[in-house]
């Protein structure tokens, strides 16, 4: 896949996430892209030269050994695309696993005096809507996650082709 195709695929993926209401994943990836890639570079240091000595004001010349410095570089289109795919996999895997773990914890607390909840409700901001997650729902999240990993692996193979 060439760079232009990667840029297009990145845009298509971001559009897909927006359509699914998951634009926050794009925002987090884009924030990371904007911040740039931290790299360590060897840089030749310069020293101010006595202006009178060279009869040139404000001259600098290389001085001493190069130093290790921290720099920032932009991510390549391929790196940006791989970051987005990582983010999709990470969020889906983590959310599915957390939900299962929470459900399992509350099932373990089930007693006659205190039955386990069938749902948890996340109140986003007081009075501004809620998200209800069923803890009994029979959605095979693990199977869906495995399918996603397989599809993304295929997409990565396409990118590398």
């Amino acid at each position: 896949m060439n760079e232009q195709e990667m840029i297009k695929l990145n845009a298509d993926l971001q559009r897909m996430l927006n359509d699914l209401g998951l634009g926050w994943i794009n925002e987090q990836v884009n924030e990371q892209v904007r911040a740039g890639k931290i790299v360590t570079k060897e840089v030749q240091m310069f020293k101010e030269v006595d202006a009178e000595q060279l009869s040139l004001a404000g001259s600098y010349r290389p001085s001493g050994r190069p130093q290790q410095m921290i720099g920032v570089e932009p991510y390549t289109p391929e790196e940006q695309l791989q970051m987005l795919l990582d983010a999709i996999e990470k969020s889906m895997t983590d959310v599915a696993a957390m939900k299962e773990e929470i459900a399992s914890f509350f099932r373990g607390q089930d007693s006659e005096q205190q039955p386990a909840p069938s749902q948890i409700v996340l109140d986003q901001v007081e009075g501004q809507g809620t998200i209800t997650l069923s803890l009994e729902e029979n959605v095979d999240e693990e199977r869906l996650t495995q399918q996603l990993h397989r599809l993304i692996a295929q997409l990565r193979a396409e990118i590398n082709s």
């Binding site: 897909m16 699914l20 990371q32 931290i38 959310v95 696993a97 773990e101 909840p117 409700v121 396409e158």
Partner: protein, 225 residues
């Protein structure tokens, strides 16, 4: 239709059927993470011998739906029947664990604790008086961050700032589901409690954090024995 488009359509279909598709904001995903950390704290308390109970903001046993308050929320709010846990150790003051409550800092400014464990008498007083718990009555608090990418450094910076106003020994934790070498470097340098890569499928990280919580509860019991 090319191969990438076919794969994209299939990915969209799979995500659309998953729990992730219900979480239409980063906050919602983070809220789920907070509830997950809340359960880890309760597990740690149980392992240290605590008896757990759940009740809502009105003091009743919650029905089949557990409401979790997220930012910003007050411990006395009755907007919903918010659920909290009661943690009872033998011969020690009773504690409550909450998700997403505000507490008052040293400066008198309010801050949100993603997950907080505090004295039950303080919690009851606050619900009765419709006021906010004091930072020095919070025995354990966790700042939780859920990210799809490495965590930005500013989140660790905010946590460091928060600690200056809600200090309490080393009972404050910064927990993320992802990582960032920069954020970790800063927190480690300043000797703060933090854990990264926290997810149920990463048992090493889960055990490490739960053990740290257990130690806090063990110290709490010893202090009040």
């Amino acid at each position: 239709m090319n191969n990438s488009q076919i794969l994209l359509d299939e990915i969209q279909r799979i995500i659309g059927r998953s729990t992730l598709s219900n979480l239409s904001s980063a906050t919602a995903a983070c809220d789920l993470f907070e509830v997950y950390v809340f359960t880890l704290i309760l597990e740690a308390a149980e392992r240290e011998g605590a008896v757990l109970r759940f009740e809502d903001v009105r003091g009743r046993i919650p029905p089949s739906r557990y409401f979790f308050r997220t930012s910003p929320g007050h411990i006395f709010s009755t907007e919903h029947d918010y659920t909290h846990a009661i943690i009872q150790f033998q011969n020690a003051p009773i504690l409550e664990a909450h998700v997403g409550v505000k507490i008052s800092g040293r400066s008198g400014v309010l801050h949100e604790c993603d997950v907080a464990v505090l004295f039950r008498d303080e919690a009851i007083s606050c619900r009765q008086g419709r006021v906010v718990p004091r930072y020095n009555k919070v025995v354990l608090s966790v700042e939780c961050k859920f990210y799809a990418t490495p965590i930005p450094l500013h989140q660790a910076r905010s946590f460091m700032g928060l600690l200056t106003d809600i200090p309490n020994g080393d009972d404050r934790f910064f927990v993320v589901n992802t990582h960032s070498s920069n954020a970790e470097k800063m927190l480690a340098y300043h000797r703060k409690n933090w854990e990264h890569n926290l997810a149920p499928y990463a048992p090493d990280y889960v055990n490490k954090l739960r053990t740290a919580f257990e130690k806090k509860f063990a110290n709490f019991k010893a202090k009040h024995a």
